[in-house]
C-alpha cells in the first residue's frame, strides 16, 4: 500500500473515531438526567457526518469490483452510526418540551437517519425488528402540531434540500419497502435521490384514493401496506398522481439527455441503473393502480436443491436428458475438474416464485438479475427456470436470501442447426421458454446478449420440422441473458428438398 493510501486510511479512521466519540457523548447525555441538552449537538452533526458518509460510499458504489472486507466494514459502520443517531434523536425528541422550536429539526433529522440506516440493509441484511412504531410516533407528533408539511432545510449530498417531516417519514417507509433486495445499493441511492428531489410533492391523504395505493397505519408497528384499511384505524395514503407526475418528469429529463438529480452521488451512476429503477417504480405504480393480481400464497419448504446459473450451465446440466445426467450425481468430469455443485436451501414456494437461502458458495455469488434453474427432484421432470429478483444478506458470514421469479416450469434446450446461426463460430445455445398461452404468442428463447445482438435468422429443430425464426424483441433480460420474443419466418419438414439441400439442417433433424 502506498504512503498516500496509508495516510488517507489513517485520516478516515481518525474521522470515524471522532464521529463515534461525538455520538457516544450524545448517548451518555441522553442516558443521563437532561437528554434535551444534546439537541443542539445532534442537529449540528448532519452537515459534518453527511459529507463524510457520502465520501465513504462513493468509492464503494462506483466500483465495478466485488466488495472487499473493508467495504463491508465501512457499510456496517454507516449503518451503526445512522441507527445510533436515530435512537439518540428519538429519545431526545421524546424528552424535550413539545413546544421547543428545535422539535421539528430533531424530528426531521431522526427520520433522515432512520432512512439512511434502512438503505444500508441491502448490503448488510435486514436488521429486524424495524422501528416502524417510532416512525409512526414522530409522524403522529408532527400531525398533532400541524407541522408535518412545514419545509425544513437539510444539508444533503452537498446541497440544501427542501424537506418536510411528512416527506421524510414516507421516504423512510418507502426505502424500507424497496430495501427488500430487489434494488442494488446503487439503485436505492438513485431512488432516494429522487424521493428527496420530489419531497415537496409527497403529500398524503386521509381517505383512500382509487386503486391499491400504499398506506401507512399510524397505530401499527408495520411498514407500508396496500389498499384501503378496513378496520377504521388512522392511516395515511400515498396518492398516485403526484408520484406518476414525478416519474414522468424523470423520464422526460432522460429523453432530453439529463440525469436527475444533476448533482450528487446518484447522478454519477450509469444511466442503465436509472432505467432499472424506473422499471421498478413503473411496476410499483401499476400495482398501486390495481393492475396486478395479489401475490400468490407461499408454502414453506425445507429442501436442498442443486442450482444452475447462466445459460450455458443450465443448458448443459439442468436441461440435459436424465439418462445422461443423473440429478445430484457427480459426473467423472466434475471430479477431474473439481466441479463443485451450487446447493441452495429452498425455503418457500409459490406458483410464481421460489425462495432460497444460499450459504457462501465456492462457485461465485448469485446476484440480482441472474438466470437460474433448479430441478426439483431426481424423479421430477420439472425444471424451474427463473430470474433472481431479490437478493439480500441474511447472515454476517455471507449467506444470502434469494427470491426467484419463475419464468417457466418447462424450459427446453433447443437444437440449433449448425452454420445457420450467428456471426460467431459456435452455434448459439438456445433455451425455449414456453408461455402460458397455447397460441404461442408468449413463448420466448433464452439467449445470451451477444448471440441476441448478432443473430440473424436461426433454424431450429422441432419434432419432424425445421423452423426458421428471428428474434424480434426483448421480453425480459438480466445479467448476460435475454428472453427474446421471436417471429417464425418459415417451417418445413426435415426431409423436404430445401432441408436436404442444407446438410446442417439434416444433421440437426437426425440429432433431434
Amino acid at each position: 500500500m502506498s504512503t498516500a493510501a496509508l495516510s488517507q486510511l489513517a485520516s478516515l479512521n481518525e474521522e470515524r473515531l471522532s464521529f463515534e466519540g461525538r455520538i457516544q457523548a450524545m448517548e451518555a447525555v441522553v442516558a443521563g438526567s437532561n437528554p434535551k441538552a444534546c439537541a443542539g449537538d445532534f442537529i449540528d452533526l448532519l452537515p459534518h457526518i453527511g459529507p463524510f458518509i457520502t465520501a465513504l460510499k462513493r468509492p464503494i458504489l462506483m466500483s465495478q469490483l466485488p466488495w472487499t472486507a473493508e467495504d463491508s466494514v465501512a457499510t456496517r459502520w454507516i449503518y451503526d452510526v445512522c441507527h445510533r443517531l436515530a435512537v439518540v434523536g428519538r429519545e431526545t425528541g421524546a424528552a424535550i418540551a413539545l413546544s421547543d422550536p428545535s422539535g421539528r429539526m430533531l424530528a426531521a433529522h431522526t427520520l433522515f437517519y432512520m432512512g439512511e440506516a434502512l438503505k444500508c440493509e441491502i448490503a448488510i441484511g435486514v436488521q429486524k425488528p424495524h422501528d416502524y412504531a417510532g416512525l409512526h410516533a414522530i409522524m403522529k407528533w408532527a400531525i398533532s402540531h400541524r407541522c408535518e408539511c412545514a419545509r425544513i432545510a437539510l444539508a444533503l449530498d452537498g446541497a440544501v434540500a427542501a424537506c418536510t417531516i411528512e416527506g421524510l417519514y414516507f421516504r423512510a417507509l418507502l426505502l424500507a419497502d424497496f430495501a427488500g433486495g430487489n434494488l442494488s445499493c446503487q439503485q436505492i441511492e438513485i431512488l432516494d435521490a429522487w424521493i428527496v428531489m420530489w419531497m415537496p410533492m409527497i403529500r398524503s391523504a386521509r381517505i383512500c384514493p382509487p386503486g391499491a395505493p400504499r398506506r401507512a397505519d399510524l397505530d401499527s408497528e408495520a411498514g407500508l401496506r396496500r389498499g384501503p384499511r378496513t378496520d377504521g384505524g388512522p392511516s395515511l395514503y400515498l396518492p398516485q398522481p403526484p408520484i406518476e407526475k414525478a416519474y414522468r418528469a424523470i423520464v422526460q429529463a432522460l429523453h432530453e439527455g439529463q440525469v436527475l438529480p444533476e448533482k450528487g452521488l446518484a447522478s454519477e451512476f450509469p444511466v442503465e441503473e436509472h432505467v432499472a429503477v424506473l422499471e421498478v417504480i413503473r411496476e410499483a405504480l401499476a400495482r398501486s393502480r390495481g393492475d396486478y393480481a395479489p401475490r400468490h400464497d407461499r408454502r414453506p419448504a425445507s429442501v436442498i436443491v442443486e442450482a444452475h446459473v447462466g445459460i450455458e450451465e443450465i443448458a448443459n446440466s439442468a436441461l440435459s436428458t436424465p439418462d445422461r445426467r443423473q440429478f445430484g450425481a457427480r459426473r467423472p468430469t466434475d471430479i477431474i475438474f473439481e466441479h463443485k455443485r451450487r446447493l441452495l436451501h429452498l425455503v418457500d414456494v409459490s406458483e410464481l416464485g421460489l425462495g432460497f437461502e444460499e450459504a457462501e458458495t465456492p462457485r461465485g455469488e448469485i446476484t440480482l438479475g441472474d438466470i437460474i434453474a433448479v430441478r426439483l427432484g431426481p424423479a421430477s421432470p420439472v425444471v424451474a427456470l427463473g430470474k433472481v429478483v431479490r437478493r439480500i444478506p441474511v447472515t454476517e458470514q455471507g449467506g444470502f436470501s434469494l427470491g426467484v421469479r419463475i419464468l417457466s416450469k418447462a424450459p427446453q434446450r433447443v437444437v440449433v442447426a449448425p452454420g445457420t446461426a450467428t456471426k460467431n463460430a459456435a452455434a448459439p445455445v438456445l433455451i425455449y421458454v414456453p408461455g402460458e398461452d397455447d397460441s404461442g404468442r408468449h413463448d420466448g428463447f433464452l439467449v445470451s446478449e451477444r448471440d441476441f445482438a448478432q443473430a440473424g435468422p436461426i433454424s431450429v429443430c422441432v419434432g419432424a420440422s425445421i423452423v426458421t425464426l428471428r428474434f424480434n424483441r426483448v421480453r425480459d433480460r438480466g445479467r448476460g441473458w435475454i428472453l427474446a420474443g421471436f417471429e417464425i419466418l418459415d417451417a418445413r419438414a426435415a426431409g423436404s428438398r430445401s432441408a436436404e439441400a442444407d446438410p446442417g439442417l439434416t444433421a440437426c433433424a437426425a440429432r433431434h
Binding site: 449540528d44 448532519l46 429442501v303 418447462a410 413463448d443 422441432v462 424483441r473
Partner: protein
C-alpha cells in the same frame, strides 16, 4: 433638552423598525403557507455549489451531436428498448420501430409503445408514419386525452396530410364533441360499434405467422417428453446428498 429626548426617541424607533424588518420583513407575505424552518442557529450551512462549468442544459441540447445530453439519451434509448435500438438514431428504422411498438401494445405495455414512438417522433418530427402509429395506439388504448393531444400536434406539424380525415373519423368516436375533429356524418347504428382502424401500426393481415407460432408451441411441448410441466409439488422434491 426636548431636542435630546426627541433624538433618543427617534433613534430607538428607527432601531426598532430595522430590527423588526430583520425578523419579519425578509419573507414575502404571500409565502407563509408552508414556513421554511432553517436551523440557522445550529446548522453549519453546506458548502456553496461550485459554479457550473457550462450553462445548464436546455431541453433540446440533446440534438447537438456528441453532446453529453445526446450520449445520455442514446444510452437511455438502448437501456429502455434493448433489441430495438442501440442509439437514438436507430429510431429512424420505421420498419423496426412501428412493429415493436405494436408488439408492446399487444403485450399490455401500451405506455412503453407510446414512449418508443414519442422518442422516435422527437428524433424525426416530420415522419407521419410514426405520428399515425402513435395515434392508432392511443385510439386502441381508448385514451381520449392522449389521442386528442397527439392529433392536435399532428394537425400542427402536418396540416396538409391526407390522413387527417381518417384521424378525424377516429377522433369523433373516441372524443365526441371535440371541436378539433368537426362533426362528421355518422349513422346511429354505426356510432354504436367500434370503428375499423386504419392499420397504421402495420399489423399483418396474413395469419400464417400466427398459425406457425401456435404449431411451434404445440410441437415443442409435445416433443419434450422429459420436460413435462407441472405444479411445484413439494412431494417431488428430495434432498440432494
Amino acid at each position: 433638552m426636548d431636542f435630546i429626548v426627541a433624538f433618543v426617541l427617534t433613534y430607538f424607533l428607527v432601531a426598532l423598525a430595522i430590527a423588526n424588518r430583520g425578523w419579519t420583513g425578509l419573507a414575502p407575505r404571500g409565502a407563509r403557507a408552508a414556513p421554511v424552518i432553517a436551523d440557522n442557529s445550529h446548522v453549519t450551512p453546506p458548502p456553496p455549489r461550485p459554479a457550473p462549468a457550462h450553462p445548464p442544459a436546455r431541453a433540446d441540447a440533446w440534438r447537438v451531436p456528441n453532446s453529453p445530453q445526446a450520449r445520455t439519451r442514446d444510452r437511455y434509448v438502448a437501456a429502455r428498448f434493448p433489441g430495438i435500438a442501440r442509439r437514438a438514431a436507430d429510431l429512424a428504422k420505421l420498419e423496426r420501430v412501428i412493429p415493436a411498438a405494436r408488439l408492446f401494445f399487444e403485450e399490455g405495455q401500451g405506455d412503453r409503445a407510446i414512449e418508443l414512438l414519442d422518442l422516435a417522433t422527437e428524433e424525426y418530427p416530420d415522419s407521419d408514419a410514426l405520428r399515425l402509429a402513435q395515434l392508432e395506439i392511443a385510439f386502441l388504448l381508448r385514451d381520449a386525452a392522449l389521442f386528442c393531444d397527439r392529433a392536435r400536434e399532428f394537425r400542427q406539424v402536418l396540416p396538409q396530410s391526407p390522413e387527417w380525415s381518417e384521424i378525424a373519423r377516429l377522433g369523433r368516436h373516441i372524443a365526441p364533441g371535440e371541436p378539433l375533429f368537426g362533426h362528421g356524418i355518422q349513422s346511429p347504428e354505426r356510432s354504436e360499434c367500434w370503428p375499423a382502424t386504419p392499420n397504421w401500426i402495420q399489423m399483418s393481415w396474413d395469419l400464417a405467422a400466427e398459425v406457425l407460432a401456435a404449431e411451434f408451441h404445440r410441437e415443442s411441448r409435445r416433443g419434450a417428453s422429459h420436460c413435462a410441466e407441472g405444479s411445484l409439488d413439494m412431494t417431488e422434491m428430495e434432498v440432494v446428498s
